[in-house]
């Protein structure tokens, strides 16, 4: 059905952006002057508004029959020479779900920010950016065609740039924002190329049409040769946005932004755009097993890689950042093996618990008056009971402790990686390893932060205080979701025991993302689903509590086992990846540009031009000598001319 609902959902944060970004400053003659509360509540109101409308849209979808969707056609964006791109928004079951997540979590985080950012200056700017981000993110998920998706895709990139660099006076933070934008751009080029290829093959960029056309065998056969290329380019785009190898480097730096930003953008929503895109185009990706396996491998490796780094970090936000990268790796693993709905499932649960964890860490940092180093915390449990409680739930959820949300989604991924034809056995092993690591570093984080001895300085200790209600309330809401969210996707095995509880999510997504049937025993690895489930949960529990226990006293494993110092160093420096990139990418670029701008352009290209000029002058000067000033020389010249004339005559005649 068509309705203006999607448009309204989209517009309302934009209005908020305008009010915060334009109206207030104009009224008050300046950005710094906006009252923080006013700005915060305005922004929250508008995002909440679109949350309400998303719910209404969602209501339309419920029982809306076979693949229901709400669309609103806004205007012709492009239309020339066969390239027709309407500005059209479509909410189907997948994007509806994501709208809910975005606006819901968005609302919570706005609320949280209102209190968290209260003492900053230019809060108006902050909330304007935040609203703008929501607008772009919604556009990303609601856009009915790839260019619109790309619009949102770039838009969120811009907002993350702006928000990471919110404290722009600090060069570090500004650089982080720049890095994020540029690395994303690299991915975006892939995205663009993918789009161009698609357009060349199919002549359209409308998502629904693409998926529709792919049901037609002739079309499939026609695009078969180039489909791998298309999917690969799109996947490159996804790696950029969703921080996969090798383009993940920007995400950890992105933690330079305010913590709520990290929660919203770099955990819950934006970074999952790649997953969304792949899930959205799953019929296309289905056609190319090769790229699928690439995706799976990249995902798995990223997961393990980032997870291992997370162990050795001391900055609480860095830990969470790397864990985000690793969780995204899980999602890509799921996509890679073909379990799209599982990926979306994990996307959702991850949104819950990772947002929760970030906000919690934000509350911790808030309490420790800006301190982010876990080695200067410890024993905060008694000072921050609410924060501790909620974060505990979050940590349990991410570690995959049974019956918390993370458990269901992660478990499904692990099992799909052996149960589905696309799966690979060793990826399953990597997955399990990562799960173990996840639980371990989460436990470590909790222990370093809340348990163990108090290591903070006195004045910090003096100021310790539980965060105000505005901050704890979102924590509790998210805690609930993180705890219970998993029951939307109960696997059949358990579902049968639990009174035939269905896998709600996969049924819901079915029209958009067809659910794969999981056999009871893995095909790649002869393991019964129950075994996997039990095993993984045991591993999770064990390593979580190991983590908690081990790090009561020490900060690094190497403190316990001296042999591991080297490894520790390696991990602590993130495998020196940034340094590597600096050597193989950044510096060469700098050199090339210096060479091009400094040498080639000045001396070669321009040198040729100026050389020509000088040459002409030189010729002129050398010709001057004929002009001796002696009239008889001129006479001789004349006589020479006469002779030339005669010679011409003679030559012609004889």
């Amino acid at each position: 059905m068509t309705s203006s609902l999607p448009l309204l959902i989209l517009i309302s944060p934009l209005i908020g952006f305008f009010i915060n970004g334009v109206v207030y400053p104009l009224k008050l003659k300046g950005f710094a002057k906006t009252d923080p509360n006013l700005a915060g509540y305005t922004a929250t109101f508008f995002i909440f508004l679109s949350f309400i409308m998303s719910c209404m849209a969602f209501g339309h979808l419920v029982g809306g029959g076979e693949n229901p969707h709400v669309t609103s056609f806004v205007f012709e964006w492009f239309n020339f020479g066969g390239l027709s791109i309407p500005f059209e928004l479509r909410i189907d079951k997948l994007s509806g779900l994501l709208c809910l997540i975005i606006t819901g979590i968005g609302t919570l985080i706005h609320l949280y920010s209102t209190s968290y950012m209260h003492d900053e200056e230019c809060v108006g700017r902050y909330f304007a950016y935040l609203n703008l981000f929501c607008f772009n993110m919604l556009l990303l998920v609601m856009g009915a065609n790839l260019p619109l998706l790309f619009f949102g895709w770039e838009g969120v990139g811009l907002c993350s740039y702006l928000l990471i660099g919110f404290w722009y006076t600090d060069t570090e933070k500004a650089n982080a924002g720049k890095k994020a934008f540029i690395v994303n751009r690299i991915g975006d080029l892939g995205f663009l190329i993918g789009m161009f290829l698609l357009f060349r093959e199919l002549g359209t960029l409308d998502l629904a049409q693409i998926n529709l056309m792919l049901t037609n065998p002739e079309v499939v056969i026609k695009i078969m040769p180039s489909v791998s290329l298309i999917c690969f380019s799109l996947f490159v785009g996804a790696t950029g946005k969703s921080a996969q190898m090798p383009l993940y480097v920007w995400l950890p730096d992105a933690m330079a932004g305010p913590t709520p930003v990290s929660a919203l953008i770099h955990a819950a929503t934006m970074v999952t755009a790649g997953v969304y895109m792949i899930a959205r185009l799953n019929p296309l990706f289905e056609l190319t097993p090769m790229v699928m396996s690439i995706i799976a491998h990249v995902g798995a490796i990223t997961a393990l890689f980032a997870g291992s780094i997370a162990i050795a970090q001391t900055d609480i936000k860095k830990v969470l950042a790397y864990s985000t990268v690793s969780q995204l790796g899980f999602m890509f693993l799921a996509c890679g093996v073909g379990a799209y709905q599982t990926a979306v499932f994990h996307l959702m649960t991850h949104a819950f618990f990772k947002a929760l964890l970030f906000l919690g860490s934000g509350s911790v940092i808030h309490a420790c008056s800006g301190e982010q180093d876990m080695t200067k915390m410890g024993g905060l449990k008694k000072y921050l009971p609410h924060t501790h409680f909620t974060m505990l739930i979050g940590s349990l959820a991410i570690s995959g402790i049974p019956f918390f949300s993370g458990f269901f989604s992660k478990d499904e991924i692990l099992y799909s990686s052996i149960a589905l034809p696309g799966g690979v056995s060793y990826l399953f092993v990597i997955g399990v390893l990562t799960a173990m690591l996840t639980a371990f570093y989460t436990g470590r984080m909790m222990s370093l932060t809340f348990y163990g001895s108090e290591k903070m300085s006195h004045d910090v200790k003096h100021h310790l205080h539980e965060s105000p209600f505005l901050m704890t309330f979102p924590l509790y809401v998210l805690a609930f979701l993180a705890a219970a969210g998993g029951f939307l996707g109960v696997p059949h095995l358990l579902g049968d025991y639990l009174g035939h509880m269905p896998h709600v999510l996969s049924q819901w997504l079915a029209p958009v993302v067809p659910a794969k049937h999981l056999p009871l025993v893995g095909v790649k690895l002869p393991l019964h689903e129950g075994v996997v489930m039990a095993g993984s949960s045991i591993i999770a529990i064990a390593s979580y509590f190991a983590g908690v226990a081990v790090f009561k006293k020490i900060t690094f494993i190497s403190d316990a086992f001296g042999g591991l110092t080297g490894l520790q160093k390696l991990l602590n420096n993130k495998y020196y990846v940034d340094e590597l990139y600096a050597v193989i990418v950044v510096n060469p670029l700098k050199k090339i540009s210096a060479f091009a701008g400094g040498i080639v352009d000045k001396y070669v290209v321009d040198g040729a031009v100026n050389g020509l000029g000088r040459g002409v002058r030189a010729v002129g000067n050398s010709l001057r000598v004929i002009q001796t000033g002696d009239l008889q020389t001129y006479g001789l010249l004349m006589l020479g001319g006469v002779l030339i004339a005669i010679l011409f005559i003679y030559k012609v005649l004889v």
């Binding site: 001057r624 001796t628 000033g629 002696d630 009239l631 008889q632 006479g635 006589l639």
Partner: protein, 100 residues
């Protein structure tokens, strides 16, 4: 070989000589004389041609040419005097301040 040819050859020779005088002698006055010689050679061949063609046009022109020659030499000599006043010499190579 008839008179005509002989005179023509003589004219040509005088012409060449005049040219060489103009080009080689460094005295401006000599140069002027060279020009006179050139004109004379031209007259000679003009007359001879018209004679050999049984015409009178050539002869008539010669009057004019001679007059012109007179006028020219008058101007030339006054320019020469002027030069002598300014440079104190009438060598051609003394008057080479304008060059390049």
């Amino acid at each position: 070989m008839t008179n005509d040819v002989l005179i023509q050859v003589l004219a040509a020779f005088l012409f060449t000589m005049g040219m060489l005088v103009v080009l080689l002698r460094r005295d401006t006055i000599m140069v002027l004389m060279g020009i006179e010689l050139l004109l004379n050679a031209a007259n000679l061949s003009l007359v001879a041609f018209s004679k050999s063609n049984a015409m009178i046009e050539g002869q008539l022109q010669v009057f004019f040419v001679i007059t012109i020659a007179a006028a020219e030499s008058a101007i030339g000599l006054s320019i020469l005097v002027n030069l002598y006043r300014n440079f104190g010499s009438i060598k051609t190579q003394s008057a080479t301040t304008l060059k390049g």
